[in-house]
């Protein structure tokens, strides 16, 4: 167990170092940091002095070390676009993205699991065919198009929900939340649905496939033979055993949700990190891009790590197999 955790941790650190190196190279070699900081009329001597002060003449390895040390403290320099520390900008934007992503994942689970169970149990029901057809369309429609269509229907035509922004937000120390005001909640509905749609189809298809598989197994037949009512067989025995892969996939997809939030946030002008990075790329705002890269990689690495460890904890077969193999080998 400890060996597994240590190996997994070492892998995560290696990935973060690689991503840090990419971010550093971006930061240091794409464009000239000095040129981006000073105006046209700065003399060459001033530029050289600034270059020396910033340590840009040191060996690359030393600079990389310094970059890492600062990144660990959350310091990614100053945004070219906003002329403010990147850390401040990201801290402002982070809550919006996290609230949107978590809402989308919860929605996807709340809708996807029942739909998957239903389509798994009633394979030829009319609703099942409808769900499956809708899910195929949902996969083929790009996220931005779903968002626009929702805006057209619910904001433009019906006028029920706002089409952009986060509504009124409440500040809880540095965290601003839109969950405590009516306009904030209303603003969350359409973006959350847009972001959830793809995950929902994924979860539905997964639950359906798992249900179909589990329902064929012997212990379900035995449960039926014991005369247990359908409700207990379906939900107590079958559904419970489909949930391990669902939890894994949902965990892994949390990263994808944050990535697709880039598009959703742009469609709805949601003031989160995704909207920020799109603007940063358009503006070639390298410090913001580097910080976003490191931060998002950190998210992914942590999520993958947690999922792997959870899997290890939840599924005893993994432990036994490894234990047996290790027992023979060592």
């Amino acid at each position: 167990m400890i060996a597994f955790v240590l190996r997994r941790l070492a892998q995560s650190v290696a990935v973060m170092l690689a991503v840090g190196l990419i971010a550093f190279m971006l930061f240091r070699y794409v464009g000239d940091p000095v040129n981006n900081m000073v105006g046209q009329d700065t003399s060459l001597a001033d530029r050289a002095r600034l270059r020396q002060e910033l340590g840009l003449n040191d060996p690359a390895a030393v600079q990389f070390g310094r970059f890492l040390a600062r990144a660990l403290k959350g310091d990614f320099g100053v945004s070219y676009q906003y002329a403010r520390p990147v850390r401040e900008i990201i801290a402002e934007r982070l809550p919006a993205t996290l609230e949107l992503s978590v809402a989308a994942v919860l929605l996807a689970l709340a809708a996807g699991i029942p739909m998957g169970v239903y389509t798994g149990l009633r394979r030829d029901g009319f609703l099942s065919h409808l769900f499956l057809a809708v899910s195929l369309v949902g996969v083929s429609l790009p996220t931005f198009l779903t968002g626009i269509l929702l805006i057209v229907v619910f904001s433009v035509s019906l006028g029920w929900l706002p089409s952009f922004g986060r509504g009124d937000v409440v500040a809880l120390s540095w965290w601003t939340t839109g969950l405590l005001t009516l306009s904030g909640l209303k603003s969350l509905v359409l973006p959350a649905i847009t972001l959830a749609l793809f995950q929902m189809t994924l979860i539905m298809r997964l639950v359906r496939a798992e249900m179909l598989e589990v329902l064929r197994t012997d212990y379900i037949k035995f449960a039926r033979a014991r005369g247990l009512p359908n409700r207990i067989v379906h939900f107590g025995h079958a559904l419970k055993n489909t949930l391990v892969p669902v939890v894994t996939i949902t965990g892994l997809q949390l990263g994808a949700v944050i990535a697709f939030a880039i598009i959703t946030e742009t469609v709805f002008q949601w003031p989160g990190m995704g909207f920020l990075i799109v603007q940063a790329i358009g503006f070639a705002d390298i410090p913001v891009m580097a910080a976003y890269l490191v931060l998002i990689a950190f998210f992914f690495v942590v999520i993958n790590l947690i999922v792997d460890l959870l899997y290890y904890a939840v599924d005893p077969r993994l432990r036994i197999e490894r234990g047996a193999a290790g027992g023979h080998g060592r």
Partner: protein
């Protein structure tokens, strides 16, 4: 290619094959194939079919901007689906946009396939540290969503290239960004089947008679490892087209002067609160959704038809 004399025989073999049988049997697949063919034809023949050339800026007339489709009041049959904010004919823009979307999609998938198949073959056949290196990179990349990789590669490539040439280089940048986001799938699949093939007797026999390893990998292993590549390519074509559309929608793909379907939707999105979205947004969106849905359906059919487990 085979000589012309063999063509009728080959055609009959194709018509008798299981693949064609399962193709004919499924009405959904037939419809998807027809829709794909129609859209591809429209894209290829765009210069002949389109009533206007959307790239010809001199022919644009701002007085004709934002005209509705021909059958609505104020419409004009020389602009069947209306005009956009620059006075461009929406129908012509869609045809040319389809052309660009398909071009970028096919280009990206081809590049990704060449890269992925090559690296996968190398990793599987060479083994050792080369294998470990390539597959570690692939694993790490696979834990990030493709759209994010494409977006970041696109962003870096853009900031590396000179600003003033961005319009000419945009297509290549987007193709490269998308290809770099999907090569992993090709590499992993080809590596897997290469590992299987490498252990087989014909490869050992070739090795014993002293065929050069590169020759064995290229002439003997590769053809046998190519089976699943076609399926992956079809499914990824739809993904590549969607990725291009997403990048263009974000304003990071193809420029307004060379609109792809994503760019057209982005333009139409600006008019969402006035009535113009009904043609400026809706028709490009229908074209894009139709194209990806049809390709997805074809990909699903191909996957099922070539999967012996489902027979």
């Amino acid at each position: 290619m085979a000589a012309d004399g063999a063509a009728p025989g080959a055609l009959r073999r194709l018509a008798d094959s299981d693949l064609f049988w399962s193709f004919r049997r499924s009405p959904v697949t037939l419809a998807a194939a027809a829709a794909t063919l129609l859209l591809v034809l429209g894209a290829v023949l765009a210069p002949l079919l389109a009533p206007h050339n959307p790239y010809d800026l001199a022919s644009l007339d701002l007085l004709q901007a934002r005209d509705p489709p021909a059958w609505e009041e104020g419409g004009d049959w020389s602009f069947p689906l209306g005009t956009d904010d620059q006075g461009r004919d929406v129908f012509s823009s869609i045809l040319y946009g389809l052309r660009l979307s398909l071009l970028v999609g096919v280009g990206a998938v081809l590049l990704a396939a060449i890269l992925g198949v090559g690296l996968g073959l190398l990793a599987g056949y060479a083994g050792g540290w080369i294998d470990t290196l390539i597959m570690r990179i692939a694993d790490v990349q696979l834990s990030f969503p493709a759209i994010l990789v494409a977006l970041l590669v696109d962003g870096v490539a853009r900031s590396l290239l000179p600003h003033e040439r961005q319009e000419q280089t945009a297509v290549y940048v987007v193709v490269f960004a998308i290809a770099s986001s999907i090569w992993v799938q090709f590499a992993r699949t080809v590596r897997g089947s290469t590992l299987v093939e490498r252990a087989k007797e014909y490869v050992q026999a070739a090795r014993i008679i002293g065929v050069h390893p590169v020759m064995i990998a290229w002439r003997h292993v590769l053809p046998n490892a190519m089976g699943p590549v076609l399926v992956i390519a079809t499914i990824n074509l739809a993904i590549a087209i969607l990725t291009e559309a997403s990048l263009s929608f974000l304003g990071l793909g193809l420029p307004v002067t060379q609109p792809s379907l994503g760019t057209l939707i982005r333009i139409g999105d600006n008019y969402i609160f006035s009535g113009e979205w009904r043609w400026m947004l809706l028709y490009p969106a229908i074209a894009l959704a139709g194209l990806t849905l049809a390709i997805n359906l074809l990909g699903d059919w191909l996957r099922d038809a070539l999967n012996p487990k489902l027979r």
